[in-house]
Symmetry: C2
Subunit: 189 residues, 2 copies
């Protein structure tokens, strides 16, 4: 049986040494019997009338089409939510009927992170309170780890979502939740 | 010919009066010959073993399946990027082969917004400089309005992306870019 391919989505591509980050994830994939596809690994060929950015987008979408599974690094990124590119890719994989998995290296709930992001102090004692941000917009209060569409989509796809608390300086490099997902995926097969 | 259905994705659902926001968008849709589907319009029936959050996610995904087109409000939301739920839905719609459209009511480029979010001062004069955030992670520098996967996906789908500069207090309610999209969609049909 051919090895299942896993698309490795995440802000890991923005790390100072993204190739090392990709290699570490691909190595773990192999240990569990999977073939990891890391975005920046593919040779980008830019068509004449195309920008580099859109060529990268095209190549990444092609990798997701090839993959059987996506593991999205949904660790909060420059704000209370996950990296936008990663979230887009998770949605794309859902639309294509792939196996979905995601993890976050921050376990503080989304509600609390959004509340803090809005410059408020401690969370209100009433856990059912209607919470709003600085602009008066509602803050979701469902005990989830990001906007409900993300964890909801993973749930609907019968996928896997895991959080852990990595030390702040390893927030984007810690692979313990990632490895737990690989273990669960390997057990499913 | 049946009216084309447009799924109205955006953080508009978090506005103080989301029903009014949805009604305004649906009214404009009708003026251009479209049927607008707004997330919170559907009656949510929560199954026994299901949380309300996941029921909402399920209903929203069902609406996107029903729609022919998605118009995503990609205005920056609590950080440099768009609302995570909206971005997920854009990706889902891409995977399902829908017509994609998006708008942002903030025209400042993503690079500049990410740079400012990281607490840096003015942008470096060298426009090709390698930019990083507080954690040393690369800031994309492609002259786009969000992570390249978003505008890239819309481009690959031959969709429509429009930005404008709404007054700050109308950042989440201004519908001029939204209406421009409707106009272009109507011309295509």
């Amino acid at each position: 049986m051919a090895m299942k391919k896993i698309y490795l989505a995440g802000p890991d591509v923005f790390l100072p040494d993204p190739h090392a980050a990709g290699a570490a994830k691909k190595h773990l994939c192999q240990q569990y019997g999977f073939d990891g596809l890391f975005p920046i690994d593919s040779e980008i060929s830019v068509a004449d009338d195309e920008s580099l950015a859109f060529a990268i987008s095209r190549e990444n979408e092609a990798l997701i089409h090839q993959a059987d599974i996506i593991i999205a690094n949904l660790t909060p990124f420059r704000g209370p939510s996950a990296d936008a590119g990663t979230v887009y890719e998770l949605g794309l994989a859902r639309g294509l009927g792939k196996v979905l998995a995601g993890y976050s290296n921050v376990s503080t709930p989304f509600t609390e992170r959004s509340w803090q992001h809005s410059g408020h102090g401690a969370m209100p004692e009433d856990s059912d309170a209607h919470l709003t941000d600085r602009d008066g917009l509602t803050i979701e209060n469902f005990g989830l780890h990001d906007n409900l569409m993300l964890e909801g989509g993973i749930y609907l796809a019968n996928g896997i979502f895991i959080t852990c608390d990595a030390p702040p300086e390893q927030r984007y490099t810690d692979l313990s939740a990632f490895e737990q997902i690989l273990k669960q995926l390997a057990e499913r097969i």
